[in-house]
């Protein structure tokens, strides 16, 4: 190896590669250079599983033309020797916006919301930018490229991060020398998606994650329909979706739950998404395993929190603190789950952390082979470039990195990064350094010369008899110049040398007196070995995950037990009424026996002396456990569903259990006359989002009336309807259209085959499908309502379309039209005593429940409030206070009656043999203010136990304290820290907009 020869030459063969071969030239003779490069001597890692000791790689025209251990050296080959080095395929980044400028946001205020799309000739939603191609705007950025190469990357897949459908990406190699013609490996490499709206338009829809999910689905349906030639118009965006359908789909997400949501959509549509993940996939690894998407895993492991301020430390949640401890093991967990993944640097603030963090992942258990695959072969495969990149094999691009040790060793440095056969020096080879201490001999005088940092900002010190002489130095292109003064600091000597041997510097120059001199300097001893700067971070023991992964989570999930509640007062909600001193036997999640039980074999006995046992509380109207509640982008949002956005980590689920709640309907908010579809859940703390769903429950949808849908209480005047008159017409319009939609499909489906093939297929519309379900009596309405006029109106509209409204929720003036409600057959789910918060509740009275009940309406009390829902037993008691409802009937307001309204009373809502064992053990009369829920059981498993919850408070404190200690240790060990952040729990109500 001849280091000096190419030491500062970044590119060797510049002139040979500047023009495409079929281009004419006017700058000289057009010659063909058939130069070849041979790299030899290093350990060549062909791919994660194959390596060659002393391998040889032959490169021509930017490609590897041969790899092996005994390649015959062509005569025209330039040979590079890398003895003792390692050579790997360079890394591939699939989630970058390299070379693409970010756009500035355009926001529309609440006063002037933009509801319609601006683009014409494209899809109806501006955030569907499938027609966009990143290569149109791509501008190669040499500065960024250099940073990427320094981190080991050779190829990046780059896209403009704008919109829900983002169009296509461009695959480029980080080739500084040649133009886009060479470096663009693929102009439409992948299509990109996200849940985020674009900055290119202020169009409000979708205003929520569930809206974004519905939109993505509708686009897929529309694209299929469009592809088959059913559209009357041209739609450039849909056309692009169709044309790009064979490309890999890369989906960006930015939080844990969205990862699973994206995977779910992919699963539904049979698309293998490549999902940019978040970093805590270990929290939901089983869910992901099931959906099995490909992942792009970020390595922005959190820093330890700076725990110096005791006030701020208290605000940190255990979940946040555990994240610091557990995140580095995320890649390992993903690998162990058998999920195919590649690494991405896209979430890193500083790309220099990329390789160190991957090493950290390896330290925390990821195998080096997997790690290397996730950097090379897997991303190559995911982007359909297997054989082209990611491996050092014959025919592949000559993209490789040269390191001074195994790549995942802490001290290893990337020394070179070759892209398409172009060499880039990352770390000058240490042989070139002239750092050290020298005896400098000039004219029989002896000086001491100390040189440091010769590879970067060189400095030199010259002393004579321990007198420091003022010295200046430069070291450029192999030339060292030294200037130093004499002890009087009035005369200067100037030395120069072209370095050939770093142990013996030789040169000439002018001495203090101006005389020409020769000098030499012998290295005496190398200065102390540079201290490895990598701090030895303490390897943390990974703390066990809980479900959910927060303070009150379970290490192992509760399971159904064989339990006998004995000697307890049982509120059956059945004809038997209240049984004193009775027993209830639970087996396999069901109630096996009620009454006097002597044969409860194998049962664990829970003594209920002095206590009361009831069926679990059912909240007909809740907004907890969801990531979004309102899709306010349109006045109808029947296409969205809360089932898409269940958040099983919400602490309010556990708080609800503590109040005896065992079933809830999570309703869409009241932003629109036609809201979204609801989810009925059981708060099975620790289950996945889908695991919370009440199995086989009838589907529901939220409707709303009054001030919220008119947008009366904030200054918004742009959306129809603004009056109750308009509200009626929204319903009429949608029901009518749904009727016509259904007829169109029926007509199409019933056409004879011959004609059918010539007919245009009607457009599949998720929103209309939902409304047809309502018309067909397959989906049920729970309608937010306040004043009597609108309640009456909706019943009349429904009557016209042959629909029965299932439930009026809130229904605060239900008492004024209770007779009409009874006739229509609609139930009322109301507040016990809320009023006076807006104009339409001026006549809301706490006697409402009692009056409706007296007229034969099925009455429930609901919460609409994460605080109230954990004490609905107290709210039920208000029916006794206000209007004198009997205690047994009042209790049904929060148990059996909401079960009826949700059509689940055959399974829950009372204590009856064969029903689900959803039970609550109360310390006292269940409606007494002094009563506390001691145990809450769902399907025979105890999900809440007062004693456990109390003990858990101590456990949380203990674990937090341990983590604080660990963080302090890490900080003292020099690890970087971050400022404490407070995780806020968003409380949703009907009116909460995302």
């Amino acid at each position: 190896m001849k280091p000096i020869q190419y030491f500062f030459t970044f590119v060797i063969s510049f002139s040979t590669l500047v023009a495409q071969d079929y281009f004419p030239t006017n700058k000289g003779v057009k010659t063909t250079n058939s130069k070849q490069i041979l790299i030899t001597g290093a350990i060549v890692h062909i791919n994660p599983l194959m390596q060659l000791e002393k391998g040889m790689i032959l490169i021509k025209n930017g490609r590897i033309i041969d790899v092996g251990t005994s390649i015959e050296i062509p005569r025209n080959a330039l040979v590079y020797h890398f003895e003792g080095k390692h050579i790997y395929p360079s890394f591939i980044e699939l989630h970058s916006s390299f070379g693409l400028a970010a756009l500035k946001g355009s926001s529309s205020g609440r006063r002037s919301i933009q509801y319609q799309a601006k683009r014409k000739g494209y899809y109806w939603n501006d955030h569907i930018l499938a027609d966009y191609n990143s290569h149109d705007d791509f501008k190669y950025d040499p500065k960024k490229a250099k940073e990427l190469r320094a981190s080991g990357f050779g190829v990046v897949n780059s896209h403009r991060k704008e919109g829900i459908h983002r169009g296509t990406s461009v695959l480029v190699s980080l080739n500084d020398v040649q133009n886009n013609g060479y470096r663009m490996l693929k102009d439409r490499a992948a299509q990109h998606l996200s849940f985020k709206k674009s900055n290119t338009s202020g169009q409000y829809y979708p205003g929520s994650i569930m809206g974004a999910m519905a939109l993505i689905r509708q686009v897929y349906h529309d694209a299929k329909w469009y592809a088959n030639g059913n559209a009357k118009n041209k739609d450039m965006a849909l056309e692009a979706v169709v044309n790009n359908s064979s490309l890999p789909s890369i989906f960006e997400t930015s939080n844990k739950l969205d990862v699973a949501r994206a995977a779910k959509i992919g699963y539904e549509f049979g698309k293998k998404y490549i999902i940019k993940a978040y970093g805590n996939e270990y929290e939901q690894i089983n869910t992901l395993k099931k959906l099995n998407p490909h992942l792009l895993v970020p390595v922005n492991f959190p820093n330890a929190y700076d725990v110096d301020d005791p006030f701020l430390v208290q605000k940190l949640s255990l979940n946040q603190m555990r994240y610091w401890n557990q995140a580095p093991a995320n890649p390992k967990e993903i690998a162990n789950a058998g999920i195919k993944f590649a690494f991405t640097s896209s979430d890193l603030k500083n790309i220099k952390d990329f390789l160190p963090n991957i090493r950290k992942a390896v330290q925390y258990g990821l195998s080096p082979e997997r790690a290397l695959a996730a950097l090379t072969t897997i991303p190559a495969q995911l982007i359909n470039q297997k054989g082209e990149i990611g491996e050092l094999r014959k025919g592949a691009l000559a993209n490789l990195i040269i390191t001074n040790g195994p790549v995942f060793n802490k001290e290893t440095e990337i020394e070179q990064n070759w892209v398409q056969g172009q060499q880039h020096i990352i770390k000058p080879i240490p042989e070139n350094t002239i750092d050290g201490e020298y005896d400098l001999n000039i004219k029989d005088d002896l000086y001491k010369l100390v040189i440091s940092k010769s590879e970067s900002k060189i400095s030199a010190k010259i002393t004579q008899d321990s007198t420091k002489l003022k010295t200046a130095t430069k070291y450029i292109n192999g030339w060292l110049t030294l200037r130093f003064s004499d002890s009087t600091n009035t005369k200067f000597a100037q030395l120069k040398s072209k370095i050939n041997n770093v142990n013996n510097l030789k040169g000439d120059g002018n001495f203090f007196d101006g005389a020409l001199i020769n000098w030499n300097a012998d290295k005496v001893e190398s200065t102390q070995q540079k201290k490895v700067e990598i701090k030895n971070e303490v390897l943390q023991k990974i703390l066990p995950i809980t479900y959910p992964n927060n303070g009150f989570g379970y290490k192992t999930l509760p399971t159904s037990e064989n339990i006998l509640f004995a000697n307890v007062t049982v509120w059956t909600n059945e004809e038997e009424g209240i049984l004193e001193n009775a027993s209830v036997w639970v087996v396999d999640g069901k109630i096996k026996a009620v009454g006097d039980i002597n044969n409860a074999q194998g049962a664990r006995i829970i003594d209920g002396t002095g206590k009361h046992l009831t069926s679990g509380i059912i909240d007909e109207h809740s907004h907890i456990g969801a990531s979004s509640i309102n899709e306010g982008g349109h006045n109808s949002s029947a296409e969205v569903t809360i089932k898409d956005v269940i958040n099983p980590d919400d602490i309010n689920l556990y708080r609800n259990l503590s109040g005896g709640v065992t079933t809830l309907q999570i309703l869409h908010g009241s932003a629109n006359p036609i809201g979204g579809r609801s989810a009925i859940i059981k708060p099975k703390w620790g289950a996945s989002a889908d695991g919370l769903l009440y199995p086989n429950a009838d589907p529901y949808i939220k409707f709303a009336l009054g001030e919220n849908v008119k947008q009366s209480n904030w200054q918004s005047y742009g959306r129809f309807p603004q009056t109750r008159m308009g509200v009626e017409q929204v319903f009429t319009d949608y029901f009518q259209r749904a009727k016509e939609y259904k007829a169109a499909w029926r007509k199409y489906n019933n056409s004879p085959k011959k004609i059918k093939s010539k007919l245009k297929v009607p457009r599949y519309d998720i929103e209309m499908e939902t409304l047809v379900e309502i018309l067909d009596g397959k989906r049920f309405i729970s309608c937010h309502s306040y004043v009597q006029s609108e309640i009456n109106m909706l019943m009349k509209v429904a009557d016209r379309f042959g629909v029965r409204i299932n439930t009026f929720t809130h229904i605060l003036e239900g008492y004024k039209v209770a007779d009409k409600m009874k006739d229509h057959g609609v139930g009322g789910s109301t507040f016990s005593d809320w009023w006076a918060y807006k104009f339409e509740v001026n006549d809301a009275i706490p006697y409402n429940g009692a009056i409706m009940h007296s007229q034969g309406v099925t009455v429930a009390f609901n919460s609409d409030d994460s605080e109230m829902s954990r004490r609905l037993n107290q709210e039920a008691a208000k029916a006794v206070k206000y209007g004198g409802v009997s205690e047994e009937d009042a209790w049904k307001f929060v148990t059996l009656n909401p079960a009826k309204l949700l059509h689940i009373d055959h399974e829950v809502g009372s204590i009856k043999v064969g029903k689900s064992a959803d039970l609550v053990l109360w310390s006292n009369h269940p409606m007494s203010i002094y009563s506390v829920a001691e145990k809450t059981m769902i399907d025979g498993a105890i999900y809440y136990d007062l004693n456990r919850a109390t003990a858990q408070v101590e456990e949380i404190a203990k674990e937090k304290n341990k983590l604080i200690q660990d963080m302090l240790l890490a900080k003292n060990g020099g690890a970087p820290t971050q400022k404490p952040k407070q995780k806020k729990i968003v409380e949703f109500h009907c009116e909460t907009l995302d």
Binding site: Q314, S866, V880, I929
Partner: protein, 430 residues
Amino acid sequence: MKNYIYILLLLLSCTKGFTQQTPAANQNKSILILGATAHIGDGSLIENCALGIRAGKIVEITTSDLVKNQYDKTINAKGQHLYPGFIAANATVGMVEIDAIRPTNDLNEIGEYLPHIRTIIAYNAESKVVESLRPNGILSAQVVPTRGVICGSSSIVQLDAWNWEDAALSIDEGLHINWPRAYLSSRRSRTTDLKYNQKSYEEKIKSLGEFLKESLVYNQTQSKTKHLPFAAMKDVFSGNQTVYIHADNQREIVDAIQFLKEHKVKKIVLVGGKEAHLITNFLKEYDIPVIVSRPHRLPTQEDQDIKLPFKMAKILMDAGLTITIDVSGRMERMNTRNLPFYAGTFAAYGVPKEKAVELITLNAAKILGVEERLGSLTVGKDATLFLSLGDALDMRTNQLTHAFIGGKNISLETHQTELWKRYMEKYSRK
């Protein structure tokens, strides 16, 4: 503007027809309430009690067999429970009628230093929200201002009045200060940087300090020109006006109380105190009463004890602090009528039942400085009390049969009971 007028018209048209219950006539006759279980308000109980009312005052309290005086009228209250009227502290009833409708809002004044602002003159004695408190046993309330750093003066009102003068029991008894926030985080996003807001926190404290110093000096000297805010601070320094300091964070509470002591504020009451349980020793050392946040709220953090809001009263009482209940919070005005159930909830989590009654009777009266007239069934105090068919802290049994304010037998009807009766009547016609 057009909409504005519509809203006003709507309001007018709606309130026409249902007005507030007519205040009760003066009670000229003396009354004996006989046989009830009397919850005295000081933590004690008298079974089979006899309580005499004359000229608006309680003149006798004993057991039924030991009645000494003659009365014009006797109420047989056997099996019933007798309580001193409950007192709602830190309330805003009568200041806003309908939350969402701005014309009905008289609470949100602008400005930072507003000691001259007084709630009493805007208090709506005919509010439908106010009358809805009475059937639940709440017979008086502290009506407080809420905006600014120094928010203004609160007053104590009784809840059966023709107008605010008639309602006033104690005018401008307290000055309310919202202590600056030491820790700030932005509202919208779900995870926020939390940091000690050093600069603005210290500046705000400094400026509050200057205001207090200047007003102290102003009130010690004779100034030719009147400075309304400074002049309004006079009673704070004389000790005639209590300073209610609103703070939740433990650091803020400590800073606030030491600060007020340094500035020669004599009477200090802490309001809110969601983190007061962390500094009970400090509060005890300074002997600071606490108007503690209502239990019907969520824990402030994800992994906080899920029952902490319910346990606060017990924790503070065990530490020897004098406390009552703060009714403020989400939808606080209409929820004020649930005050008895807030006390009941505290009782469910460790406070003995009679002590829970004391929280919203004698303790409240002491903290609000009206214990000479209100807060317990004690001879010489106002006959502001009620009879309930059962335990008034429990929803099932909180059923009032009689309520007296200053000896006057007040109506227990409301706009809401009238609608109830009206529609039951409608359905009975069929």
